[in-house]
Amino acid sequence: MTEKKKRSIFGRLQRTPKWKKEEFTELEYEPTSVKELLTEMKDISELIIDLAYSAVLFDSDEIAEEVKFLDVRMDKLNYDIRMMAMMAARTKEDSEQLAGILQIAEAAESISNAAGDIANLLSLKIKTRPIIPKILKKADESLFRIEVSPKSKACNQKIGVLKVESETGMRIIAIRRGDCWIYNPRSDTILKEHDWLIVRGNDEGCIDLNKFLKGELRVLE
């Protein structure tokens, strides 16, 4: 390691990334219902693919970090669901049915691993990346970045009230507010001016949403 590089890493106060904290927390047995675990795993497995592609498309280390965090979280969930399933099995029929649940959980976990691999592409040299947007922009449903203008009616409104997804088909997968990020916002998440939204959907929906967030369109319908 060169002297210069050493100095930039060592002897400096560094924040532990969220995924690392999660990885080194002790696995403790917490009784959670198998249903809750499986629901969370399914949600993550869908969100994480979009986040991983967004990370490489928009060249964002922060989103890649979140992908890593979710990937580690998924490992923990998979561990928990195995324990819970084993405790629930009493008969041969039980275990046959529970084996199905575990198989779905395992599949959700492999999806998150694949997403982790995609996000890892970010660690490659910058000049090789222009090919990624070239591929991803042509997909059926693509990812877009839109800013909320102060003129838009969306400011200080809940996502659920605006019905962004059911009116435009655009799913908000992350919001950037200043230095902070909100991943997988809920219907009670409030949009603020100058938020950057990362959304997934088709071109038509994107045009509508873009007009609305710029303030050119007063209502979504």
Partner: protein, 193 residues
Amino acid sequence: MKEKNAEEIVLEIKDKSELMVDLAYSSVLYDNKIIAKEVYDLEDVVDALYRKLQRKSLEDVKNGKHSIDDALILLRIARAGEQIADAAQEIADVELRDVELHPIIKMSIREADVVFTKIKVEPQSILCGKTLGQLKLASETGMMVIAMRHKDRWLYGPNKNTKIDPEDILFAKGPEDGEKHLIELGAGLSNQI
């Protein structure tokens, strides 16, 4: 037919693998073996595409069409897509086994953020006789049609030229409030898209 270039193959793998995940989850939700079998078939398609891409990207590098780095990125994205496709197949495999599904599986998929729904298009519905492109269902209701049944025929990942006929069964995914809207449209209770 013009041979696809490497980028197009990668894109096809990406789109197919995501469709497979949706189909796999809906196959277990609706206990539907036909959809699960389709996931199996699509997995073969994705495998074949991946093999084709491997050869294609090597050729491209040799002909100087792509740099080694570009080809590597293409292969890595495609491999991730292929892994996602494998995972979807695993999910479909649960449905195809001769074991009754645990009720929890359905409950978890129903309660998730994105819901799957199945609707029948009634003859009086305004969806009849129109193409998906005309209806703009995805951008107007948020519900994306991932599969449909037309009499005995199945269609997976329909495009904007796909026409909806009376008695068709649509499988769609989207937000909860979009689901209600789509159900009303299909039943002919609402004419407002």
